[in-house]
């Protein structure tokens, strides 16, 4: 945080420099002014600005405006720009007063000098290709590494001398926190001390520490913790209802990736497009969960398309911020006002992220994982699944064999067949005749009529009476129709539709439409066409076939569908008027249960928040628990086809009729029926196995890309010009040989010369070590961002990173072993005055520890920290007092590292929030660190910290029972990695003595304090002493030296 004094000083400093004599650099001196004050009306967004005059390129700025020009290079007096920025008259002045923007005298002077120097333009620095090599400047002996050479040059130019190394233990503390998020142990402090003086010498000791730290799980957890902000990771869906969701296996993948030092280009590629890699491994697919971590919506009544569009945008914005450092969100509604990205390019880029079969809302009534998903099988489950598939294949062969060998039996039957038939497997038959109140008799189940309220009227029907539906009131068949996806079944009915509904529900076993993601099965009319589906989660986990022709309106039509239990669209058949309808397969991916949602009965004409069959009529409904053969469906329609076939003389059968008779015969032929039953059994076994396996949201590309459009004003409903996937023209061309999908995009973004990706990445990691990036706006490498303080260093680091094979260990080593990183943070008033923000890094940076580190430090020092890597999120004490309180864990869940803390978006862990953790609603690459009194409450009073103080105090006391000063020194060093000075010991000693006498006098207070937390009490210690030591440790825990990197 900058104090006001600093702010005022910096003002003076900067304006003092503005009049300096150095040659103008467009990107450094001019672009920020033009961009910030002029581009809004005279920038790249030509369509949406009032003026035709543009200042975003040399050509535009110097264009002839009818006898004069905005900028005449070298000629101040002829340049309109010069005139208007100095104009006294508010009507002529630019920027105009009503814009609430103005130029300082220094800025006007800079613009004048620029015009005089010929008004040179330059490509935005961040869009220039990454140079193949970057020369390292000359440096003094101070510099250990190339990084230092750049830093030294910058510092000396600014009139500063780089600092000497700080204390070695300061470096060890800093590097241990920066790389692992944990403090160095006392043992590590000691052995480093020894190693420095050992025969191997100092530099080796430093390098050895770095190598040791990079090889720990703690390192992987620390980098993961940082990446979770970027990835907007959360254990709940977000928005308003914010149900819990299952995504932590992705977080564990990130930990594995960092632990194995996965090359960063692969780290990017897997997350963007792991599913599109050839024969992807499970981890490569799992990595793509990254794109699904945006908030998701369930609120009833929301428009699914609105939110689907929002998700796609979020993916793109995250991509833009995380990898490109561009504020792409600015071009959602218009061309970018500052950077060369158009609105059309925005939608072309976003279409890369649109091609998954997803819903705009997740399911309220079920726990379905929003599609597409990945089954997270164990190796044992993989084996079981393979066995199940083998069993199914064998059963299918057995069915075929039973059919093949039934020829003789069929011929024999054909000669001697009976002329009558019975319906097998009929579960319900409602004719809608003989209505009694709100009941329609069921011819099969006399005791269980179909039910309706009085609003659905009985009207003359196809046969006798029919029911006419209001669209808001269902007809239900209690106890009928709750089929599993392995069970064959058939539904047939007569219907009469008053119009070609765009969408309407005729029949369904399903609780709701979007509110249950259509879980169940359903017969709809879509654009007037019969459409039948079995659904786990629509659209990505379902099968659907739809007739190609609409039904005629205002006439009775017979519609039936049969299903064979195969979970495939091929097993789902639609019949209209007794004949197979011409259909198209709309969805063919059903892998999980269709049961559930809370509505188990088959019902007609209505569904929760869906479009009811208003004015539609239904008659003669039959439900079977088997797949009817075509002849039977024809019989349902005309009441004579089967009978006629049975009566047809054998020698006069057409081949078609013979085949139909054979199918009907097989259905009742015992060996064939037995084989079918066995097949059903094997399918059931596999389905039950799969239903027990967890799945996680991932990316899976649709076969056909979703048509994409420019959305006018960014609105989901305002489709404009169609677009195809592509990258912005101002960036490098899309590789000619790459596919136009996310994988191609990943190849593009990780190409070795991409101007942004490597720069953005090294900048973010630089920030992790120095508190600020070389570009202090890591989220914005565009015109409105701050230009790099050390452009050559940024380029050198980026080039070196790419050349190392995107090796993070290499990058990290470059940084933490540098003299720059080792510098002492102590400085004098002059250096503070020249460089209050420490831009030139002529001293070590100070900064408060991240939220996770403050908590983990307390746990580590107390010995309470449970070192276990990965697994389900945990609920420490603080979740009990969040805005959405939850029950804290007992035992080890209280003491895991903070990266594992359960993250609920609408009420995130309050200690983390108070200590400035990111909320993780959207991609964030920077945290604002503030100092508020509420943070003092957390550290002084929060049970996690009081308990840690108590447990740590007990440890220290056992070692130093009779020596309070030694206790103090030990505690101080454990918490701060530093030796306390005598003066500090004295102050803490007086604190301890005061506390001891107070708690001795008031044993009740000591007892009360020592009750904090679940950790077992230390029965072996005198309560007053233990309480006093607890307060002592807690006081040290609150010191700046504990919570600040210095």
């Amino acid at each position: 945080m900058r104090s006001p004094i600093q702010a005022i000083l910096l003002c003076g400093f900067a304006s003092g420099l503005a009049g300096g004599a150095e040659k103008i650099d467009f990107n450094r001196d001019i672009r920020p002014i033009l961009s910030d004050r002029c581009f809004k009306c005279h920038g790249p967004d030509a369509r949406n600005q009032k003026s035709d005059f543009r200042l975003d390129s040399f050509e535009n700025a110097t264009a002839d405006l009818g006898g004069y020009a905005g900028v005449v290079p070298g000629d101040l007096e002829a340049s309109e720009l010069h005139f208007v920025i100095h104009a006294e008259d508010p009507d002529e002045r630019m920027p105009p007063p009503q814009s609430k923007m103005s130029l300082s005298a220094g800025e006007k002077d800079l613009l004048d000098r620029w015009i005089r120097e010929g008004a040179p333009y330059d490509t935005l620095w961040s869009l220039k290709p990454l140079p193949p090599t970057v020369p390292v400047p000359e440096a003094t002996a101070w510099a250990r590494t190339p990084v230092d050479a750049f830093i030294e040059r910058g510092a000396r130019k600014a009139g500063l001398t780089p600092n000497e190394d700080g204390a070695s233990e300061s470096w060890l503390r800093r590097v241990t926190f920066d790389l692992t998020g944990l403090p160095p142990t006392l043992k590590e402090l000691d052995s480093f001390h020894v190693a420095l003086r050992g025969p191997e010498g100092g530099e080796r000791a430093y390098a050895a520490v770095v190598a040791r730290l990079l090889a720990t799980d703690a390192y992987a957890e620390r980098l993961t913790s940082e990446w979770l902000d970027v990835a907007r990771y959360s254990d709940s869906y977000g928005y308003q209802r914010d149900n819990e969701r299952f995504v932590w296996p992705w977080r564990d993948w990130v930990i594995r990736a960092f632990r194995e030092n996965l090359p960063y280009d692969d780290f990017i590629t897997w997350q963007l497009a792991g599913d599109l890699l050839p024969n992807p491994t499970r981890d490569q697919v799992l990595a793509t969960t990254f794109n699904r971590l945006h908030p998701q919506k369930v609120e009833g009544g929301s428009v699914p398309e609105e939110f689907r569009v929002e998700y796609v945008s979020d993916r793109l914005h995250t991509f833009g911020t995380a990898f490109l450092g561009l504020t792409l969100e600015c071009c959602r509604c218009h061309d970018h006002k500052y950077d060369p990205v158009t609105m059309k390019e925005y939608y072309a880029l976003s279409s890369f992220f649109a091609n998954i079969d997803e819903a705009g809302l997740y399911s309220y009534f079920t726990r379905s994982i929003p599609s597409p998903t990945l089954l997270l099988t164990t190796a044992a489950q993989d084996k079981q699944l393979a066995d199940a598939d083998t069993a199914i294949a064998a059963a299918e062969q057995a069915v075929q064999a039973a059919a093949d060998t039934a020829g003789g039996a069929f011929d024999q039957w054909l000669m001697n067949r009976a002329r009558g038939h019975e319906w097998h497997g009929l579960l319900a038959h409602v004719t809608f005749d003989d209505r009694s109140g709100n009941g329609f008799p069921d011819r099969v189940r006399g005791e269980k009529p179909a039910t309706s309220n009085a609003n659905n009227k009985s009207v003359p029907g196809k046969r006798g009476e029919a029911v006419q539906l209001t669209g808001d009131d269902p007809v239900k068949l209690p106890g009928v129709g709750n089929f599993a996806r392995w069970e064959p079944f058939t539904v047939g009915l007569w219907l009469n539709t008053p119009k070609a509904f765009e969408r309407t529900v005729v029949a369904r076993r399903s609780k709701a439409w979007t509110d249950a993601a259509s879980r169940g099965y359903e017969l709809l009319l879509e654009d007037g066409k019969p459409s039948v589906a079995l659904v786990h989660f629509y659209p990505g986990n379902a099968i659907r076939v739809r007739a190609t022709d609409p039904l005629p309106v205002d006439t009775w039509q017979h519609v039936a569908f049969t299903y064979d239990g195969s979970s495939t669209a091929a097993g789902l058949r639609l019949y209209v008027n007794g004949r197979p309808a011409a259909t198209e397969v709309v969805r063919d991916h059903l892998t999980k249960t269709i049961r559930g949602g809370g509505e188990n009965d088959l019902a007609l004409g209505e569904r929760f928040r869906d479009v009811g069959f208003k004015g539609g009529m239904v008659d003669d409904l039959l439900v079977f628990d088997r797949e009817l053969t075509p002849l039977e469906v024809a019989e349902l329609h005309d009441g004579r086809s089967l009978q006629a076939a049975l009566e047809a003389p054998a020698d006069r059968l057409t081949p078609e009729l013979r085949a139909q008779l054979r199918a009907w015969f097989l259905a009742g032929h015992p060996p064939h029926a037995a084989a079918l039953a066995k097949l059903e059994e094997t399918r059931a076994a596999k389905a039950k196995l799969v239903d027990g396996i967890k799945e996680i949201m991932v990316m899976r590309e649709m076969d056909e890309p979703r048509p994409s459009y420019v959305l006018e004003r960014g609105l989901y409903s305002e489709r404009g010009e169609p677009v195809t996937a592509g990258t912005p023209a101002a960036l490098p061309p899309f590789p000619g040989d790459a596919p136009r999908n996310r994988l191609g995009l990943a190849r593009w973004v990780t190409s070795g010369d991409h101007p942004l990706t490597a720069r953005v990445t090294v900048n973010r990691y630089w920030q992790m070590f120095f508190g600020h990036g070389l570009v202090r706006t890591p989220e914005d490498f565009g015109s409105q961002g701050r230009p790099p303080s050390h452009p050559e260093l940024l380029d050198w680091l980026a080039r070196d990173f790419v050349d190392s094979g995107w090796n993070l260990h290499h990058l990290v080593g470059n940084i933490v072993l540098s003299s720059t990183y080792r510098q002492s943070t102590l400085t004098d008033a002059r250096s503070r005055e020249i460089d209050p923000e420490n831009i030139w890094l002529a001293r070590g940076t100070t900064g408060r520890l991240a939220a996770e580190m403050i908590r983990d430090n307390a746990l580590a020092v107390s010995g309470l920290l449970v070192r276990k890597t990965g697994g389900a999120p945990v609920k420490p004490y603080e979740v009990a007092v969040s805005f959405k309180p939850a029950k804290p864990d007992t035992g080890e869940g209280l003491y895991r590292r903070s990266v594992y803390t359960w993250w609920k978006r609408t009420g995130p862990a309050p200690v983390m929030m108070t200590l400035n953790a990111s909320k993780r609603d959207v991609c964030r690459v920077r945290r604002e660190v503030t100092a508020s009194p509420l943070q003092a409450f957390v550290l002084l009073n929060g049970p996690q910290f009081v308990e840690a103080s108590r447990v740590a105090a007990a440890e220290f006391l056992r070692e130093h029972a009779d020596d309070p000063d030694a206790l103090i020194r030990h505690a101080y060093r454990a918490l701060t990695s530093r030796n306390a000075a005598q003066q500090q010991v004295d102050i803490l000693r007086s604190l301890y003595d005061e506390q001891l006498s107070q708690f001795t006098e008031h044993p009740d207070r000591a007892a009360a304090l020592l009750k904090t937390g679940q950790a077992p009490p230390a029965g072996d210690l005198p309560a007053a002493t233990h309480a006093a030591a607890t307060v002592l440790v807690n006081a040290i825990m609150n010191l700046d030296e504990t919570v600040t990197k210095r």
């Binding site: 702010a7 400093f13 009544g301 808001d472 208003k614 701050r786 909320k919 009194p933 409450f937 005061e994």
Partner: protein
């Protein structure tokens, strides 16, 4: 010193939203330079430190503080304030297409086969000298009619609660923007030195549409501008109380030592961040007293509870929070935000709305009366309202005794009192069916612009640069609603 820092210097030419320099701002809060760190922490005009050079006058400050009585879930304007005899006459008829004009409905009633109009079953009468029409659901509010400025022509684009509340509180339907209170804290800083400047209280135990903590979040502003939620708990703010066994005197002793140690370090390093840290702990100590001082009602006379109702004694109730709001306002907390959930009456509206009104009516009116009696209404802006309105047609089944109303973004009613608003007025009008605004429409952006205006802020100048763009509470919209200004 001939090398220019490649950062955007703070003197960018952007004017402080108040037209105040930071130094002036500090002075006006009565803090000398000695307490600068403290002032900085309290965010005394973070936007300051920039010189006002355009000479544009900032609007005069009418309201020093705001109490926003947010009725979450969207109360029915038709049954409370927007009296529509024609609608009552057409009760049971289908919503005419000439009124609906094909506008989008929520997916809850949008697929309903029939949309019958519902006139209010509640009695309306004109109240006060101003003759404001208020239904008998709000007898107490009716008594303060002449203090109210009722806006009947509010409208929004949001049709669902999440986006709707987010819009009302942050000026955007989607998450990520700072809330009103955070903007004010950023723009104006704190008026007090020992309480947060943005306090939030949510009625306890109310079901209904969930709220989310980002509604009082700072968005992309620094986290210190987050609203601080007061909980109906022994710790009114997170971990406010010292642990069992540590009394106030002992806490002071410990903090004295911590300060001594920080002082030592300040001398050793010269790092001004240490001053901030010292102030941070001093303020924490003060807040440990000042917050209980607000929440302890033992000094309130019986007449207070007669005014606010007996509920005001029960922590967590709306009435209790209304009373706390007055106590916070007395201590110059800048923005006090109440949330009362439960207005989402999709079904059984008559029963539901009666209960909601009973919980809120008396205390809302009492707060206005109380502030007026104390001479604080002039510079305290009280706002009552929800995120959108409700439909004139029935959701679900219309029966003789019951009905429901769906979400309706096209019009809704809020009221304001004090803080420079014009008392005893009604602004704007809807059509005969309370469906469309026909006069004086006030968009949410306009409401925000007006609110900021009353606080002495030009809404176009209160900006924060994030991701390269100068963001405003009012985005790129917003007009001050002049007719409602006193």
């Amino acid at each position: 010193m001939n090398h220019r820092a490649p950062s955007t210097p703070p003197c960018t030419g952007f004017d402080s939203p108040l037209g105040l320099s930071r130094r002036q701002a500090l002075k006006s809060f009565g803090m000398g330079l000695g307490s600068i760190a403290l002032a900085d922490m309290l965010s005394a005009a973070e936007g300051g430190g920039r010189h006002a050079e355009s000479g544009i006058e900032a609007p005069p400050v009418k309201a020093k503080r705001v109490i926003f009585l947010f009725q979450a879930g969207a109360p029915s304007q038709i049954d409370l304030f927007d009296h529509k005899p024609q609608l009552i006459k057409d009760h049971g008829k289908e919503l005419p297409d000439s009124i609906r004009k094909g506008q989008r409905l929520t997916a809850m009633s949008g697929n309903q086969a029939s949309l019958p109009l519902v006139g209010t079953p509640f009695k309306f009468a004109p109240h006060g000298d101003s003759g404001a029409w208020i239904s008998d659901l709000l007898p107490h509010t009716a008594k303060i009619a002449d203090d109210l400025c009722v806006v009947k022509s509010m409208f929004t684009e949001a049709i669902n609660h999440g986006p709707g509340v987010t819009f009302m509180q942050t000026g955007s339907q989607f998450p990520g923007r700072p809330s009103i209170g955070a903007w004010l804290d950023y723009g104006l800083g704190s008026l007090n030195s020992d309480l947060p400047s943005f306090v939030v209280m949510v009625t306890k135990g109310k079901g209904g549409q969930p709220l989310v903590s980002r509604l009082w979040g700072s968005g992309f502003l620094p986290g210190k501008h987050d609203g601080v939620r007061f909980r109906a708990d022994k710790d009114a703010v997170l971990y406010l109380n010292s642990p069992e066994g540590i009394d106030r005197a002992n806490r002071r002793r410990v903090l004295d030592k911590i300060r001594e140690l920080h002082q030592l370090q300040l001398e050793a390093t010269g790092d001004p961040a240490l001053e901030t840290r010292i102030a941070q702990y001093e303020m924490a100590f003060n807040m440990q007293r000042s917050i209980p001082d607000v929440t302890d009602l033992s000094d309130e006379p019986e007449s207070t509870f007669a005014l606010y109702g007996e509920d005001a004694r029960k922590p967590g109730t709306y009435a209790h929070h209304a009373l706390l709001a007055r106590r916070l306002a007395e201590r110059d907390v800048r923005f006090i935000q109440l949330y009362h959930q439960g207005w989402d009456h999709h079904g059984n509206l008559p029963g539901g709305i009666r209960k909601q009104c009973k919980e809120t009516d008396q205390a809302s009116a009492a707060l206005v009366t109380d502030l007026k009696q104390r001479g604080m209404l002039d510079d305290t802006l009280v706002i009552w309202g929800g995120e959108f309105g409700r439909t004139n047609y029935c959701q679900g089944k219309l029966t003789a005794t019951s009905f429901g109303r769906d979400h309706h973004p096209r019009c809704f009613t809020i009221w304001m009192a004090g803080g420079g608003t014009r008392p005893g007025t009604s602004h704007g009008a809807t059509d005969d069916y309370s469906y469309n605004v026909v006069d004086g429409g006030v968009h949410i952006h306009d409401f925000h612009a007006t609110l900021l205006h009353l606080l002495g802020i030009d809404h176009e100048r209160l900006t924060y640069k994030y991701q390269g763009r100068h963001f405003r509470l009012t985005d790129v919209h917003g007009h001050i609603v002049k007719p409602i200004l006193a």
